[in-house]
């Protein structure tokens, strides 16, 4: 505790770590203790930043940047410029495409890789704050080198193959599980012209890619020859198959409204009408988020690797960097879902016109970070569902309501195409109708299922009586 209103201090164990924490200067002391020269340099740099921002603002208003290769708001222009330049230099056309394609792939891999480097640190620090702990703070500045230390430790560990394991299939899953986590990034637009693979069937592609991950998990669980692994794999596969349906239904609503399966079109729709899909179809957004947590094994739906029940689920037997890969892919999945959530429901790279001034990829990154923070928050707060509860929630609740929601949205979509009214009126009406219908549906369906929220939890009864069975029966009646 920070405040200590005691007359005499508590004798705490004077470990070096506690002493160091005690001696650490606060933020105020650190700010006051900066040398004068540094302050001057900081002030100059601040002024410089202001001037730079003013210059950027002038350039943007002027419109001089639009479509130029040095337009940092959309790196797609730079790649297109590079391609034109290479073509102009007489380089083989195929080589040009190869080079730009490799550049894009490298960018995506470095995003995922960079996130793997700092993601675990972020998660551990944030959860530590939730849990009134310190978190990793010993390795490097603020413990930033902790993930690297962890990775080195994992790599130097022995890789154990359990006796009776299927050697051939045991080696594939740690690699295979990464494939969907990487490929899923391809259609995500980071700016109007900045999508690696802006395919027409983007939504289907995302769903299809995520379904490959099931296989890796199942192979991992099966080939380990371990009952925990098998239980974890069975749980995960059952859950992934179940929750693919709510995800598809939620995305169906989005596709119906935006009339496109292309992710850039979906974002452009939201940017054009200055509205987020989550405002129009809140139920679909909730279903997508909840089902995604189930798909990627995040709390509160992390039953596939429920630590208190089945140790580490499908990767119980993996050791060393193989286990490390499974843990890393969870982070990669979390930000992938963050990106998909941002793209489908939170306006993607657009932010009500701000994308004209600020690079769209920064906006998208901020949104991904926000969704990721939500995941960490959930993990730090909620207990875990049971398998049957989770399955019941998908089949009895999310899927029927998702179908009804998709039906309503289909009617709205045809109205939207046919009615020639200002968009804010139609979309606003849709938002109101969908919110109202969601509330009505959820309440009605919950009543039908016989579910009543536990408003007043039963408290134990306080008694002064004493006795055995008779007293218990008396108290109960």
């Amino acid at each position: 505790m920070s405040e200590q209103p005691l007359q005499a201090p508590i004798r705490r164990p004077a470990t070096p770590m506690l002493r160091q924490i005690e001696d650490r200067p606060g933020l105020k002391e650190m700010a006051l203790g900066v040398p004068f020269g540094l302050k001057v340099i900081g002030a100059i740099m601040g002024l410089g930043a202001l001037v730079l921002m003013a210059a950027v603002g002038y350039l943007v208003v002027d419109g001089r940047l639009d479509g130029q290769w040095y337009d940092v708001r959309d790196l797609g222009h730079a790649v297109a410029g590079l391609r034109d330049w290479l073509d102009g230099e007489g380089v083989d056309h195929r080589l040009t495409w190869l080079i730009t394609g490799a550049l894009g792939g490298l960018a995506i891999m470095s995003i995922v890789g960079g996130w793997l480097l700092i993601g675990s640190w972020v998660e551990r620090r944030v959860i530590a704050k939730f849990q009134i702990r310190m978190g990793p703070n010993r390795t490097g500045l603020f413990g930033l080198l902790q993930p690297i230390a962890d990775a080195v430790k994992l790599m130097t560990k022995e890789i154990i193959i359990p006796r009776g394991a299927d050697r051939f299939l045991y080696y594939i899953p740690p690699v295979l599980v990464f494939v969907p986590a990487m490929l899923g990034w391809a259609p995500i637009p980071w700016a109007p012209n900045m999508a690696y693979m802006d395919i027409n069937v983007g939504v289907l592609y995302v769903v299809a890619i995520s379904s490959i991950g099931v296989l890796a998990i199942f192979l991992a669980g099966w080939s380990s020859n371990n009952h925990y692994s098998l239980l974890g794999a069975m749980r995960t596969v059952a859950m992934m198959i179940s929750y693919e349906i709510p995800i598809s239904l939620a995305l169906l609503s989005v596709v119906l409204l935006t009339q496109s399966m292309q992710l850039s079109e979906i974002v452009a729709f939201q940017g054009h009408y200055h509205v987020w899909m989550i405002a129009i179809i809140p139920f679909a957004a909730f279903a997508f988020l909840f089902a995604s947590t189930a798909e990627i094994n995040r709390s509160p739906n992390d039953i596939g690797e429920a630590e208190s029940e089945i140790v580490a689920g499908f990767y119980t037997e993996y050791s060393g960097m193989k286990a490390g890969l499974f843990m890393a892919v969870e982070l990669a999945h979390a930000i992938l879902v963050g990106a998909l959530m941002a793209t489908f429901f939170l306006g993607g790279y657009t932010l009500f016109g701000l994308e004209e001034w600020v690079p769209g990829y920064l906006i998208l990154a901020a949104k991904i970070g926000a969704v990721y923070f939500l995941f960490v928050w959930l993990r730090g707060t909620l207990p875990r569902f049971r398998l049957d509860q989770l399955m019941g929630f998908a089949w009895k609740f999310l899927i029927p309501l998702g179908i009804i929601q998709a039906f309503i949205v289909a009617i709205e979509a045809s109205v939207f195409v046919r009615v020639d009214a200002p968009a804010f009126i139609t979309l606003g009406a849709f938002a109101v109708v969908n919110l109202a219908s969601t509330v009505v549906m959820v309440r009605f369906w919950a009543d039908r299922l016989g579910y009543a929220p536990a408003q007043h939890a039963t408290k134990p009864e306080l008694t002064n009586a004493l006795g055995g069975l008779k007293a218990a029966q008396r108290l109960r009646s």
Binding site: R94, V201, L204, S211, L215, W222, V237
Partner: protein, 190 residues
């Protein structure tokens, strides 16, 4: 089929598909066979991409590599370990006959069909951006009856599965020895 990239892709994907299909037959371990089957499915999806059939390719991945294979995995898991051997069986001969029949049917269709082969400028002219819209229009237009029949079939399958499971559970709870067992447990508890 002009571009060398497409040609290389075609041959690589064909090799993957054919080799992994053969390995499905050869592999002794049923799980290994399944893994190769998924690889064959993915190779097929790649082949569809070289044909610019993006929707079919994605559907191939989604349905075959993602769902059908998991269904098969479940089926394999639920069979006892002893019968998980991909060994010889009496079904080899009928299997070979059926396979040859299907192959000859496909070959006949391929030879018989009037392929609108175009190259160069004609290909570029006839190129369209996406097959999704076209597929959707055909499914809900010209082939709507087939589409509806297929969906009704799926619905019947779904309901049939539910009915089967439901029936068994009711029978289990009503079976006399089960009732006697639970009764004995209740009576004997502590």
């Amino acid at each position: 089929m002009d571009s060398t990239g497409i040609v290389i892709g075609f041959w690589v994907l064909s090799a993957i598909t054919v080799v992994s299909s053969l390995l499905v037959l050869v592999a002794r371990n049923l799980m290994h066979a399944l893994a190769f089957l998924v690889l064959a499915f993915l190779g097929m999806a790649g082949l569809f991409i070289t044909l610019s059939a993006d929707f079919v390719a994605v559907a191939q991945v989604l349905i075959y590599a993602g769902s059908i294979s998991v269904l098969m995995v479940f089926a394999v898991m639920l069979t006892p370990l002893a019968s998980r051997d991909n060994g010889n069986s009496l079904y080899v001969l009928p299997g070979v006959v059926a396979g040859l029949g299907i192959a000859s049917l496909v070959a006949f269709v391929a030879v018989d069909t009037e392929w609108a082969e175009r190259t160069g400028a004609a290909l570029a002219e006839s190129d369209f951006a996406s097959t999704v819209g076209e597929v959707g229009r055909l499914l809900l237009g010209r082939y709507v009856l087939a589409f509806e029949v297929a969906s009704v079939l799926l619905l019947i399958g779904l309901l049939g599965a539910i009915v089967l499971v439901q029936e068994r559970r009711r029978a289990a709870t009503q079976s006399p020895d089960e009732a006697a067992d639970t009764g004995a447990r209740d009576g004997g508890a502590l």
